[in-house]
Symmetry: C2
Subunit: 330 residues, 2 copies
């Protein structure tokens, strides 16, 4: 079964292709009568405009590219969900690729995006990305790029991200409120700038506003490592009375140990994390957390993308607001 094309419709109706084309898009030049006829036939033959032909002709695709380290990730998937939602509303489709945190795959993916002449790219840098040059070229070719979450330092790019420092500070505030005496703060992989930012902000705040609270700072790059670190710290004579988990991954590790050691939360140990909320609500009592919503970030990223598309070069760095969501763990 061959696809219905304008040509086919034109032949059957004894009209020219251009007339059919115009009729289909309600062009004022065309009489109501012919419009009706054209629409009728188009429907019965269920005509679907060929997106490639359109894009070739108009030099603009209705597709955005999204590149993330991994789709199966509690944070990115909600980001993607949000972007997809907005895109759909605006008549765009999404092409999603994962970099697996490998710079060469990231480059491959970017090539696919360029070859498909996507209208724009939402990009989350892979861990050790040094390929900013490629992104630079894309923006030069007028393919807007909106970075999210893991963004380049260079501020000639458009970026949206969580208010990382605020997250850490809000957590610190809550910890101080709780009147903690000994805090164990576990951050993510040392290689990620986000870990550094959060750690610095947290440490600064604590040292300034609660200098007498004893804090221990460690880094864990996996749940297992986080669990191990927690167990070690908790086996010491002076146990921490509060633990701060910078990511869901860390929190998962901590909570494994907490459950295994049958530590009472919050009486024996206060727990606070930074999360989109899914993991903290898995436990009883619910873990208190500072909310970083991938969903909200997605919405924001989309706004930025649209702004960029409309000619305006908005080279700003926006952050989405974060808030404390009390559970019963503090």
């Amino acid at each position: 079964m061959t696809n219905t094309t304008l040509k086919l419709l034109a032949q059957q109706l004894q009209l020219s292709i251009s007339t059919v084309s115009r009729a289909l898009k309600d062009h004022p030049d065309i009489s109501a009568a012919t419009k009706a006829k054209v629409h009728a036939l188009a429907n019965s033959l269920d005509y679907e405009p060929n997106a490639y032909a359109i894009q070739l002709r108009t030099q603009s695709s209705k597709i955005f590219g999204v590149i993330v380290p991994a789709i199966s990730n509690l944070f990115y998937d909600s980001f993607i969900a949000a972007v997809e939602e907005e895109s759909r509303k605006n008549g765009y489709a999404l092409m999603i690729l994962q970099s697996s945190n490998q710079p060469d795959i990231e480059l491959d993916n970017l090539k696919i995006f360029r070859q498909n002449r996507v209208s724009g790219v939402f990009a989350c840098l892979s861990a050790n990305a040094e390929n900013l040059e490629t992104y630079q070229k894309m923006t030069e070719k007028e393919i807007p790029v909106v970075f999210f979450d893991i963004v380049p330092k260079d501020n000639k790019f458009t970026k949206v991200r969580m208010a990382d420092e605020r997250c850490a500070i809000i957590a610190a505030e809550e910890i101080i409120k709780r009147n903690a005496k000994k805090v164990l703060a576990i951050f993510g992989d040392t290689g990620l700038s986000i870990s550094q930012k959060r750690k610095n902000a947290f440490q600064n705040f604590m040292e300034t506003y609660a200098p007498k609270v004893h804090c221990t700072y460690v880094n864990a790059s996996s749940s297992a490592e986080a669990e191990e670190l927690f167990r070690k710290q908790y086996s010491k004579a002076q146990k921490p009375d509060t633990v701060f988990a910078m990511t869901d991954e860390v929190l998962i590790g901590v909570m494994k140990a907490v459950q295994a050691l049958e530590i009472k939360v919050p009486s024996q140990l206060g727990v606070i994390g930074i999360s989109n909320g899914f993991i903290p609500n898995l436990y009883h009592p619910k873990i208190s957390y500072v909310e970083t919503s991938g969903y909200e970030l997605g919405k924001l990223a989309f706004v930025q993308m649209m702004a960029n598309m409309k000619g305006g070069k908005t080279l700003t760095e926006l952050t989405v607001e974060v808030k404390f969501v009390p559970g019963e763990s503090m």
Copy 2:
């Protein structure tokens, strides 16, 4: 900055477009000398073939469409990850859309796929989908469709899914091994055929091989409902000694109650679920589960897709094998 095209290269090199085109793809007709020249210029001007033009000309896109109820889902995201991985290896990109379980959105998305002339579609039906006609049309237009997970009954379609009955039976076997006396089995939404299948298989097996075990069967369509149901059953005089959770969603609800009520697992209560493994491993002790891997399903779906593409109409229903993964909850 305008995009480099074959025409541009041809002009600069004083060659015809066809020569340039052929040189770029190493056609034997072209002399080594010109090939070298062409490649050199193409590189320095970083030429990127225009995917639209190619697809228009060749009538074949290197894009697959994927449609899922929701991307942010522990099962689907790993499915997508697998399909994406395989697609990339084979030079395909993915266009991913979510139906949000709404049939009309699903139809919209299918339209986008058709307009983009995707090479094939991986589809998970939305809950109350009655739009099989549309899928039917697509296969008639030679766009292969591989259904996964939630698949149509009609067996003129290609489908891959988990071995749902096997899942339930394996779980039942383990429960019998454990010597359970009173079992609470919580299944998913009644509307989903998968719930029915699993329930029937489970119930059958239990009644056949362990008729004296007392089983209670209930359905929950959310974590909260599962939690509530569990609490109710557990507050009865004769408490269940084993609980079976058909999905992660159910398991999450159950475990909330278990933690809240401080029920000892496995001494007071055995727990077994069906899952891809992420959720069960969040708890201590680790929950035993029958593994249904979205990842494996994705791989299988891709194989089926490729088989379908190569002309062969493989209208079969394949299932991916499942296995029991012992935790410490039984």
